[in-house]
Symmetry: D2
Subunit: 269 residues, 4 copies
Amino acid sequence: MEGLKVIEKRDKKIVEIADTKVGGGNFLFCAGPCAVESKEIMEEIVSYVKISKVNLLRGGAFKPRTSPYSFQGLGEEGLKILKETSRKHNIPFITEITDTKYVELVFKYADGFQIGSRNMSSFELLKEVGKTGKPVLLKRGMSATVEEFLNAAEYILSEGNENIILCERGIRSFDPAFRNILDLNAVAFLKKKTFLPVVVDPSHGTGRRDLVEKLAVAAMAVGADGIIVETHPYPEKALSDGFQSLDRDEFLSLAKSVEKFALFLGYEF
Amino acid sequence: MEGLKVIEKRDKKIVEIADTKVGGGNFLFCAGPCAVESKEIMEEIVSYVKISKVNLLRGGAFKPRTSPYSFQGLGEEGLKILKETSRKHNIPFITEITDTKYVELVFKYADGFQIGSRNMSSFELLKEVGKTGKPVLLKRGMSATVEEFLNAAEYILSEGNENIILCERGIRSFDPAFRNILDLNAVAFLKKKTFLPVVVDPSHGTGRRDLVEKLAVAAMAVGADGIIVETHPYPEKALSDGFQSLDRDEFLSLAKSVEKFALFLGYEF
Amino acid sequence: MEGLKVIEKRDKKIVEIADTKVGGGNFLFCAGPCAVESKEIMEEIVSYVKISKVNLLRGGAFKPRTSPYSFQGLGEEGLKILKETSRKHNIPFITEITDTKYVELVFKYADGFQIGSRNMSSFELLKEVGKTGKPVLLKRGMSATVEEFLNAAEYILSEGNENIILCERGIRSFDPAFRNILDLNAVAFLKKKTFLPVVVDPSHGTGRRDLVEKLAVAAMAVGADGIIVETHPYPEKALSDGFQSLDRDEFLSLAKSVEKFALFLGYEF
Amino acid sequence: MEGLKVIEKRDKKIVEIADTKVGGGNFLFCAGPCAVESKEIMEEIVSYVKISKVNLLRGGAFKPRTSPYSFQGLGEEGLKILKETSRKHNIPFITEITDTKYVELVFKYADGFQIGSRNMSSFELLKEVGKTGKPVLLKRGMSATVEEFLNAAEYILSEGNENIILCERGIRSFDPAFRNILDLNAVAFLKKKTFLPVVVDPSHGTGRRDLVEKLAVAAMAVGADGIIVETHPYPEKALSDGFQSLDRDEFLSLAKSVEKFALFLGYEF
């Protein structure tokens, strides 16, 4: 990792997504559906996540799905829904970008880019979001080493964009019990090595609704600067990732735990 | 996993190792060197772990080492040192057993057996420690699925011994940055599925001294019933695993964090 | 995998890259440098690969490198060198495409697209090369399951392009002895399941020059429709992947083995 | 791996199991059921494996099973059946040993020990079979690196026993499509590094009957000194591992391919 700017000794970076600060003691609590499905569902989600201290919305308009026959997202229509909901409730939002050809479009609508696990090594995309200067939440690849993860961030940084949030979201393992293994070793390590904020996605990191809350607070204990979770009012009807999306009650239970831990750990929140 | 007794719906088991209770709200704080090296070093270790609330000692007398030319442990001499130190300071101890032929010997000295990662599938050994009825701390195999782990515990249970503590100690991954990846998903899952206490070894789980404390408290946040850590007054001179052993100051720092979290989380401790 | 067109029961597809046929008994022998470095080096490579029965050239003009500071390829200049060398020696060529914005450019020069491991899940890219109808050599992602691999091919197929060659190139494992583990189970499985040709890249699949030849013939024994190898006249000076590139003599030794096995196995070659 | 005797530069070792030679150009063709179930079944198996050039029988009497409630083998009764069948047909046999307490017993009956994947790191067992001097077929652990594998062999060698056959049997991966991934990189590497014979178990290495034959010949192409396969006249009724056991016809088809490849590759057979 020698020679990477992302591991230079510097003050911890505070990334600002509109009014939401992340890092340096500022905690990110990001929630939303896997995919934006309709204005109504999005509104319903925000109606309950607003009860908590959620300070960033998430939702996919362009969905990278394993199968070409699965729901691929609403595209620009999804971006419009996100923007409208976000502005109405005054909570900024990020959304996934899957290809360089969407950079301009997503730039126009979103407060920040999300680069998903499948695109961590899409280096042209990293460079182009780097050029925009807009905040980027960069997820670790499914089987990326931490060194590769830091190099991916370096692609963004080397284009002059320091507004990067590293996101651990679980890695592939041999155990079919879990979709992924949440790697909190990496979170502790990245917090030591880099000046960038490091957040955790316990939804993908476990792939099981019943484990999300526990792993969310574990991530906080290990020093994460925030968490990002999937929620859906009717997980069993969700068009994607329902098995790992918290319903209203589960989400509010998690939010309570997150707030309790944030207080205990002294996060600005 | 259908049909396993270890996942029957029952009250949480409280395992007693001499006077130390584990599970059901009782927290295990186990510490000691990787290998017992001498009476003096053992005494020095206990002199500082006693400052904290450590309620179980650990130390290897029979060491399963990758190379036949590495230090293999002191054998019975190590057991004598452990016993003497333990009795003097009134803290019980467990020690690793690597073969059925040592069951009688270890039974005579130790307050509990430890089955290491390399022996999780040594089913004859599991059955024989099962027959003794003595407490067993069973570590997960390096690449064991949680289902295989539960089946290993079942080998002990099916011989009539319910005094089992499950121990997550990290799994193999593709990332050379860490010796192992501590799998806290598994801890959350095992806490839900089984009535046995579940503890965590962040020393092997990270393989790096500088990450042990953070992962220890993460394990607590996720619901672990205890932690087990390696410590050595002079890690750089340790005959095994020095790179992951905490020195005196690092250990006391960890102990402070552990106590702070235990208080916050409401553990009996 | 139910419902995928790529596993429909059909006659084996023969993919034609210019005059080179792949599949249905026609063997692909593809060789070239990791990256195109200069016209001279490219010419020197072809001067010795021509001695063998190589029927496809490879070479990277757009290189997806882990670090932004590593050599990134010559871009269009590289495509021109490839085209010129290819036409002069009358051997078609494929080259890697890393982003949708290069589709038109690469289409103009190359006889076929190569999608690398890092882009197997760049679904927009898969769809766009699918629309061109041009042959695509699709490499398996580093940690893609065979099911995910087949779904990636389905993205191309579902756009109407059946000219797909599946390429196994090694998967991630826990063993630092090898860059990747060549998964010949997958090759045998894919040959049974799909009607598409399946080829093997033993250079990436081992990451070690001294193992490439042995794994190449193993791939043939298991039923692969071809192999693709990296070669460079001066591996120690290569700008990328020198450690796994065969030099002239190593390449000619491999070519001899490949021809011997092809004869024994009855490939059209 | 520095300093290991198993990688000293020496003439290739030829291991003799009764009259069967392995290594240095002598090919091992070992077959038999996963577990010995009865004298009748064993006799039926030998009746068809004898049609081929099988020169070693295998069969488990002590079975290390994931669940304590699965069939655990016939114990000494199984050893008697193996011995009787072996002597009647004049083909030597090996059988798995799972604990030090069975060393004397297995020594008395078998022509060689088999150490299974789950016991590769049972170092006491390795030392004790090392002391006997009897041939040992040592299987690689499910997630053992090649370095750990060689160190396990060193445990046997360091007790003075050079009659060791290394056996690659597949490693754990993230892909649920296969029980294990057969690692032929390791076979090529071990053939280069060590003077010991290296054989391959494509039954465990794939976990699928329909892939065994293809991977067996791939192993031969890569340079393996032999293969070991599971066969059972009625796989669907087998008490263990039926899904990967070849029936009579599948076995004879494999045997034909093995013989064809042995001739082509110039093995003594």
